[in-house]
């Protein structure tokens, strides 16, 4: 069995922060049904970001603004363990699938909303995209080293969406565990804003004043002379000479053993204080040899280091033999796009193995089988499609993915 075998999650989310959590819960073994507008998820246009949040789900396309569509949605909700979405303020209630409506057909349901800003408050009515929260949580300020006069820098990973989604995974599973033990369901929420704040949770004020945090240099190499990347003769190397013996070994391996005895660098605090001069001294040495030559020398000396890898947009990771063997890569066939790969198992279990992932669904790919499962006859299902309440891929498929 899978860890979450028998758990049904109904996913009304679109874009990223909504759908990604259900995908991860699906990877843990739950059955996930994606309920998509008959016009398609707004994120399909974006390609990769859409695929990145949808694998392994079954899809039904329903117009929730029709009474018949709402009835279908509530039948799904009545069978769900978890209902999950990222609609903006008031939308779910207006559609008739808010928490109260869900509870009225499923008294112990776990109901999760992943907001942009939050449930209540001055900005709660706003939706918003990941960059806003990278700004608000200080991520862009630190990433670009704005304190040095640089512009802010956006992290290309778009990870506030993922943080919101992952907080919702932890929240939903905590609520589901509680429900399994007590029979009580509940409503919960997370937000992009709070997800971003978790990434900066090392920020602390003591008596109202910021405690110092390590900061990047203007060249975006690292946060300490001994915890940064250096340019080599042919590329780069990242070092992490954190402990005293590693610092001494670093000096010896670089052929500047005398620096370990230099009063300016005698202890870690002094090395931080004299960071710029130390970085220049070490930087000169690193330029004299290649990255691979340095990594061997540093390994032999016991200095933690890695050569930053150019994975060619992830291709080298997704076709790496170790990653394939360990299940860290998932491969599946998409009806239009052919063979697809993405990361595989992010959490492994000794007794409840990872789920075999399927591709992201087409718009309404599983509409008919889900309608049958809900008790609709083939005739009813066909009539609802003719009426535009539901859809599935036919001779015409107006989407590219």
């Amino acid at each position: 069995m899978y860890a979450l075998e028998g758990v049904l999650l109904v996913d009304f989310g679109q874009y990223l922060a909504g759908p990604f959590g259900p995908m991860v819960i699906g990877d843990l073994g739950a059955e996930v049904i994606k309920v998509e507008p008959v016009t398609g998820d707004g994120m399909r246009l974006a390609g990769k970001p859409f695929f990145g949040c949808q694998r392994g789900k079954r899809g039904i396309a329903v117009d929730l603004k029709t009474p018949e569509g709402l009835e279908i949605a509530l039948k799904l909700v009545s069978r769900a363990d978890i209902v999950h979405h990222n609609m903006t303020a008031g939308v779910a209630n207006k559609l008739g699938i808010g928490y109260e409506a869900a509870k009225s057909v499923n008294s112990d349901v776990v109901y999760c909303n992943t907001w942009a800003y939050g449930l209540e408050g001055p900005l709660a009515r706003f939706g918003g995209l990941d960059p806003l929260y990278q700004a608000a949580a200080g991520l862009e300020h630190e990433a670009g080293a704005v304190h040095t006069g640089n512009p802010p820098l956006y992290y290309r990973f778009g990870m506030c969406d993922a943080a919101n989604a992952m907080l919702s995974v932890v929240g939903c599973l905590a609520a589901l565990y509680h429900q399994r033990r007590t029979g009580e369901g509940q409503e919960l929420w997370t937000s992009l804003l709070d997800g971003g704040a978790v990434f900066s949770s090392d920020a602390v004020l003591a008596n109202g004043e910021p405690l110092p945090r390590p900061r990047l240099d203007a060249g975006l190499h690292g946060i300490d002379a001994c915890y940064r990347m250096y340019e080599t003769q042919d590329g780069w190397i990242q070092i992490a000479a954190v402990q005293e013996r590693e610092w001494i070994a670093l000096c010896a391996a670089l052929g500047v053993a005398e620096l370990a005895d230099d009063a300016r660098f005698a202890v870690a605090d002094l090395r931080r204080e004299n960071r710029a001069v130390l970085e220049t001294l070490l930087g000169e040495r690193f330029l004299t040899r290649t990255s691979l030559s340095w990594t061997r020398a540093l390994d032999d000396a016991g200095v933690p280091n890695e050569v930053p890898v150019d994975t060619h947009g992830g291709e080298l990771v997704l076709f790496d033999a170790d990653n394939e063997r360990l299940g860290l890569v998932a491969e599946y066939e998409h009806p239009i796009m052919g063979t697809m790969r993405q990361f595989g198992e992010l959490v492994g279990f000794s007794e409840t193995p990872a789920r075999v992932h399927g591709p992201p669904p087409l718009v309404g790919q599983h509409t008919r089988e889900i309608m049958g499962w809900l008790g609709y006859t083939d005739e009813q299902t066909a009539a609802l499609r003719d009426a535009g309440v539901i859809t599935w891929p036919g001779d015409e498929y107006p989407w590219t993915i």
Binding site: L123, M166, L193, Q342, T352
Partner: protein, 391 residues
Amino acid sequence: MTGALDGVRILDLSWGIAGPLGVLLLAEQGADVVKVEPPGGDPFRAYQGYAVWNRSRRSVTVDLKRTAGLDAFGRLIDEADVVVETFRPGVTDRLGIGFDALHARNPRLVYASCPAYPEGHRLAHRPGYDALVQASSGQQWEQPGWRMGPIFLHMPMPSMGAAFLLPSGILAALIAREETGRGQHVRTSLFQGALLYTTQIWQHVEKAPAAFHDLMGKSYPPGIHQQMLFEVEGGKWVHTSVMSGLTPTKSQDELLGLEEAPDPFTFMALPPEEREQFTVRRREAYQHHEREALVRAFQEHNHAVEAVITMEEALGAGGAPHPQLAANGMVVTVEDPELGTTTQIGVPINLHGTPGAIRGPQPLPGQHNTEIFGPLGYSAEEIAAFSTEVS
């Protein structure tokens, strides 16, 4: 206090970021967490963030290299639901606290491991600092900056990924245990945490057209979202958004004082050089606006925008905290035993039926030795013998 995880007992052997922060998410939903530290305390205690990531738990000190310490740890295992460890693969087996040994002793135990790399991976015995995983996983190379080559990620992204995967896996195993009655070994790693954040950018798609890779592609200078950062008066910055989920009542250009600006659709249809010319004018216009006034004006007219601030400013350093962060209960005061009155982030997961809560500040090493080992029948002398440093 009744949290969703009331009665779940967790032993936290973890160090660094991912383990303590992952456990925090469970602790503040009601789990009873005991941090098990070596005599002398967790070596990461001096690190920034430690006081936040290690709050809401009690602490005992145990020397696992001594028989008496190992015995005492075993007594804790008998009553635990979950143990969390972040050693390199193989270390716990050598200490006698590996999965096989502890599972045999307590079959209901969920044993969660989060090393830097998965067991069996060729990198598994490489050192596991976050920045090294940023390098080896390829994340540094993915981030564009203002120079070619890899960019150091100030935010410890692999650790911050694993910090979410760890509690997710633990909870899934606890839910499975309700069916099977048995615990199991749950494994993730910083490397897998790094993969988590590649979800929008790392996919192999056999028949994808070339344009498929453009939107989220790496570019110099950095691409799509970076272009929405604008410098305003006084060298400050804002990040604007094309989407707020609301209907704007004035356009952003009108609010900037660019009256004759094309609407967004006309703008997008302009030839690239005309678009560029207008973008220069727009960047110029931003610089004449005071940041807070601009943010207010944009928000009043239903445009989503944020000032680019530090997290310390978001918590209220030098002014009021971010109003929505405060409304979310995410700006909290914690009386810390070492730092005094502190402002930290709150509980980021909001369960209405069983609200989470901070259960206390970071504990001092061994602060709860007597409280926890006393009821197990250990005398003060015995506790001292396995919980203090051998000089």
